[in-house]
Symmetry: C2
Subunit: 460 residues, 2 copies
């Protein structure tokens, strides 16, 4: 009789794990059963703002990499959508599952279990924060719900609370759909994963598009009208709100793990080792619900990002299937494009570097994405955070208009390899007038940082 | 009395050396005198095709970073343009200099000397190859000459001999100026710095633009009419030619070094150590005239590229000025954009890997530059060349349409750090729908290469 793998969560991490396990073991050796409480499998959550904003049209199927039927047909994986796992019984090696349509509950046995429950949007504990019309954007069903509201209720005024990635992307999406949009953020600049001195250009981009941006301002409550949100109240004003989106970031969805006693780390994510094993024999976890090893801070962190979910799912699946693969951790790379501004970061920003115990310095350079004389040369601003004395790169941030953000990958690769800015300033990066000045902006930044490191050393 | 530094060659390498030496030592300690046989200093040779093609307008000054007057005023560096150094007397520590306008010759003493004589286009030894109307494109004066010919002689038919970077860029430039353009290349595909299986898309791009491309075809002679080229004769045909550009690559300009007995390596470039010292005390060299250490093949190579020239010039200048800096070598990164096709490479192509003694395998993947559903997703093709058994990256090539080429920098950085494809496949590269699919094309390529490495190992 084959072993049975039960998968909790049918998006990137869970289904990557399932297909990779299947690739290792045929149906006679492994039965795979996946439960997804939503209505879709293997979709791009990152694509939701573009679906809401009509950037990619109204066909939600474009965001779906593989349907339950395709998993069945191609990989012999049974997926039950609309089924929520409500309890894990580690002793009895079963899960309790509720069919959300009928309410019927069953128990399903497992030999191997993988938790891929994802993340949930952070929700402020404020008066009215549970009102109708306040959306977190995490699963595809959220995107469909918001799109339905736009079509049916024709809201005029949208308020975004929190300028994280999803908040900014949804602000733009609503603007593209013709709404009057306000963004409230308690930080000095939106996108608090960057240092404030890099966030300014983002604020400019938002305002250029006609979005009202209120910074250094905390939301205090949500007014409601017959159970539905009507106003977002801040320290300084009250903003009319027919619809509200939370952009305060996410936290790992740990509920099932907590109930079952599967250990969760201080980051809030399920603790896993490099093979994606939890502390419980035969129980694995991958994706947004887990904590990740940050290679620069050497700490466990919780990041919700599809690229990690896919990698971790793959690794879990290979190991579940009897192979060997390990996840080497992350360096905190992320990117977005919002209101025509490209934004990317990797490693630690200044406050994170301080918190991790690094003595550091930082430099900012402004250059162009092409040779100055070449048509379409566009400004790019690069910040490096560097350890004093050693000159080791600790983090980098990029803000630009075009062909800017993806350059973070060279910096992420340098960071991964623990390069110093002295080593980096001679890196053999590509040069041709359509792609960079003869001194690539990254090299200019490294050169400037190395000068600063030397100055600092000579002051000691 | 200050020491005197004489600089031979007033472009990137020579003038970077001069300004960096000046930054270390004030005028009371160092006198700097530079000779440039052309009419310009510190210009972008890589920008010449865009100047000829009118992509950047007709103002040649846009290609010039700094004029002789600016060097004098800002850095106290005397530059004599139109002055050619014709001999180096190492014994007497002088150079002989000819004023090209007057023919007058002088001798100038030096304490330190830097050779920055650049490269010269390779010219085939064929009947007629010295005829008028056949241009190599290396210095800004070449670009001005060709632009003048276009304006005054109104040539109709241009033939490009050799599909190297400059050949392809000039083919496009002539086409943009309305000429009928033919390209003859003896290789299977143009751009022989790529493997042939990556060059196809370039040929398509050239043909889409209406350029006639003749491949696997050698030029045998040049017919002339009253001393001026009239036809390019190949193995299979004769092509009418009012103007011919050579795109056969370049070789280090070693003439002065040879005459003076300054050692030149097997690559044809002046031998330098990591501080840019030649074998002769007090004589330095930098830029296209020198050989460079290739970090992957571990051999000396001659590459003519502005980015190396600037870096080497900087390092030479710091050392000349009494500081300490070293050049760590190159990994062979290069990029261009031609006829709407973006091309980039780093490391070794297959034949180079074989030649360097590596047992290797290669993979090619096709993906997109953005998430498939995101507007503007454009095809990108990535090839990786990988050492068998170790899985170490040896080289990478990228061909695409938009936002493709600059991604080579992450691969160049991985190569620089001697990463294996197994390590690379979990690299924390940026992901967001406007920038890549959730599995970045580089990661897909690394994953595929790692599978191939594992298969190969299991066959052993």
């Amino acid at each position: 009789m084959p072993e049975r793998l039960v998968v909790i969560g049918g998006d990137a991490a869970g289904m990557s794990a399932a297909t990779n396990a299947r690739r290792q073991l045929g149906p006679d050796r492994l039965e795979i059963l996946a439960f997804e409480r939503g209505n879709f499998t293997s979709y791009s959550a990152c694509g939701i703002p573009y679906f809401v904003g009509d950037v990619i049209g109204d066909d939600v199927d474009r965001l779906i990499a593989r349907t339950p039927e395709e998993f069945q047909d191609r990989s012999d994986i049974e997926v039950r959508i609309g089924h929520e796992v409500t309890e894990i019984d580690l002793e009895g090696r079963t899960v309790r599952v509720r069919n959300l349509a009928t309410g019927a509950e069953t128990r399903e046995a497992f030999d191997q279990l993988i938790l891929a429950t994802g993340a949930v949007p952070k929700r402020p504990q404020l008066p009215g924060s549970d009102a109708h019309g306040i959306y977190g954007i995490q699963v595809l069903d959220d995107g469909i719900a918001v799109r339905d509201v736009l079509a049916k209720e024709e809201p005029q005024h949208a308020v975004i609370v929190g300028g994280g990635y999803i908040g900014l992307e949804m602000a733009e999406a609503f603007k593209l759909r013709g709404l009057q949009v306000s963004l409230v953020d308690m930080h000095e600049e939106p996108m608090a994963t960057l240092d404030a001195d890099m966030g300014e250009l983002i604020t400019d981009g938002l305002r250029d598009l006609g979005i009202d941006v209120y910074l250094n301002e905390a939301v205090t409550s949500f007014d409601t009208d017959r159970g539905k949100v009507s106003e977002v109240v801040t320290e300084h004003r009250s903003l009319r709100a027919d619809i509200v989106v939370l952009g305060l970031g996410t936290q790992p969805n740990r509920e099932l793990a907590d109930m079952a006693g599967i250990p969760v780390g201080p980051s809030g994510g399920v603790m896993v080792d490099r093979r994606m094993r939890t502390k419980i024999e035969g129980v694995w976890a991958a994706g947004d619900c887990t904590e990740k090893y940050h290679r620069v801070s050497r700490r466990a962190v919780a990041f919700a990002l599809g690229t990690h979910a896919n990698k971790e799912g793959r690794i879990a699946g290979i190991n579940i299937g009897g192979g060997y693969a390990t996840f080497p951790g992350v360096v905190g790379t992320a990117a977005t494009k919002v209101c025509g501004v490209e934004v990317a970061r990797t490693g630690l920003k200044e406050s994170e570097a301080t918190e991790a115990g690094f003595e550091h310095l930082s430099v900012i350079v402004e250059s162009t994405t092409r040779a100055g004389y070449y048509p379409g040369a566009s400004p790019i601003k690069i910040k490096l955070v560097v350890e004093k004395r050693s000159g080791k790169l600790l983090g980098a941030q990029i803000v630009g208009r075009e062909e800017a953000a993806k350059r973070i990958d060279a910096l992420a690769t340098a960071l991964w390899n623990e390069m110093t800015v002295d080593e980096m300033l001679n890196l053999d990066l590509s040069y041709a007038p359509p792609y960079s000045p003869v001194w690539d902006p990254i090299l200019i930044a490294a050169r400037k940082a190395w000068s600063r490191v030397q100055e600092t050393l000579s002051e000691c």
